[in-house]
Symmetry: C2
Subunit: 309 residues, 2 copies
């Protein structure tokens, strides 16, 4: 759906701010508690957190993260799910979110309503309270930035650091072709899987695959090692080439490492009992340079998504 | 300073993402703790909060909240201070912030460095930890959205609700002419004043004046009452007309209400001991319609800043 309207009367600017804010509250419904705990005051008020908190921020921008082929409901849901994927990657569960929206005045109210309804439905589904936001006007821009707060789902947070040379590398699901297939807005963030993995101390480090495995994997790689992948082992989405599975991005899968001394077969059996429908693949390991077997992938030759180029 | 460069070699896109992120960490310096407590992982990790938390989000956008006449350092500082003003209005003190940045690839690295250094200096000054962020590219846009977390500075949070008919209305500082005089980026958020006011139970409701008093005051107005202001009492910035003091916006002052039974002269004396250099003005009161004295201002005739029009 195209977000702009040619008829001023159907645009967000025709309504003006006050009417629009009233409508937004209606569209959000139970996904947004009332002030002072939600919208309507200078700040939203959140309850005390018992333990550590997690915070992340990610946007969706027209022309970059979505286009006219994506329904506005799916855009709203994607905005939340992108952030949930970051939370999943640390073993977190979500609590609250705030939204900063920048809108061209010609955006149609229908588009905006569907966007908010998609966001609200997703927030209710994942138990996220949308407690606040900001609305600003800028020509030729539709950008929504969501800040998501969460907590550890269990006793442990898993970060990107902690892998050691020799560790094995696992990935959930399949990679590549996300934009072409619509996976980039249809995906389900791996919250349950991330929480499960964080409870398993065999898991040393974890992150989500959002810019493409070839690029993202650098952040997991321990000093003095390189990632050695077996090209045949990479779980590709149907129709995706090897290069696409390494570089496309927007996979929203989890990549994590498990130490050599762990009981890998017990770990994998346990995974399949917990997630019988979710593929788990050991794609390679971190090795010291010079010790890699022949036929292994040189990741430096592939590039993932560059945010500024 | 104009944010765009004509020379590709001086632009943010010439550097690429990795180099840029390294530079951003250097520019932020001690204002940004390292991961997992700061940037560099899927989420930032925050300590548990002992009490309630406050959260707010506000952007600065090129062409709307700043232009070439504002130095990039002042833009970075303004972004934080706008959010601090919202926190001040509830009697809060800041803890942490995350930043979502959307940049045209032609933005000069010099502009961006100055922006970050201004933000970092302001964060250190106000004791805010910049723990995370996101960087996205969009043509023809420079927009930065900051989500700020805080805590109550004392035992009480003050919201916008709680005023009653008869309450007196006070405002700090002077109003109007903010854009013309540069107040919109030179202001100091009223954090100390907001915390002080929240400790005084005589104060019933409070907010900051950001869209112009005429518009903002509606949010403080109790059911069954209207705000009755004395035009001569309004504290105007030098050179600002009555209309400007009511409608210009970006004042970043505090407006609050005090009940009729409170000892107003003791309250005002106490204020002046605490803040000898900050003007405090009783500008009117909330009255039931039909009981207003002649010569009082009809606020409905004035409009403040409309975010979408």
């Amino acid at each position: 759906m195209h977000p702009y309207t040619k008829h001023h009367s159907e645009s967000v600017s025709a309504w003006g701010e006050e009417k629009l804010l009233t409508a937004i509250r209606r569209w959000l419904g139970s996904a947004s508690p009332r002030s002072p705990f939600g919208m309507g005051d200078d700040c939203a008020v959140l309850p005390a957190s018992r333990g550590k908190q997690l915070i992340t921020v990610d946007p969706v921008i027209y022309g970059r993260h979505f286009d006219d082929t994506v329904s506005p409901r799916a855009v709203g849901a994607k905005l939340l799910k992108r952030n949930l994927s970051d939370l999943a990657a640390m073993g977190g569960r979500p609590t609250t979110a705030v939204l900063a929206l920048t809108l061209d005045p010609r955006v149609s109210r229908r588009w905006l309503e569907e966007f908010y309804r998609g966001l609200a439905a997703s927030a209710r589904h994942f138990n996220v309270a949308l407690v606040g936001g900001d609305l600003a006007q800028t020509d030729r821009v539709i950008a929504a930035s969501l800040t998501l707060l969460g907590q550890p789902a269990g006793p442990r947070i898993v970060t990107r650091t902690g892998s050691r040379p020799g560790d094995w590398i696992y990935v959930t699901g399949v990679l590549g072709g996300s934009l072409r297939t619509g996976h980039h807005f249809r995906f389900t963030p791996r919250l349950a899987e991330g929480a499960w993995l964080a409870r398993h101390t065999a898991v040393r480090a974890m992150m989500d695959v959002s810019d493409g495995l070839a690029k993202d994997l650098h952040a997991l790689t321990p000093r003095g090692a390189i990632p050695i992948l077996h090209p045949d082992a990479l779980p590709r989405r149907s129709g995706a080439s090897l290069v696409e599975s390494l570089s496309d991005g927007e996979d929203y899968e989890l990549v994590f490492t498990v130490g050599t001394r762990s009981d890998h077969s017990a770990f994998v059996r346990s995974w399949h009992r917990a997630f019988p429908r979710t593929r788990l693949t050991c794609i390679g390991r971190f090795m010291r340079p010079g010790t890699e077997p022949s036929g292994s992938l040189k990741l430096a030759a592939f590039r993932g998504y560059e945010h500024l180029r």
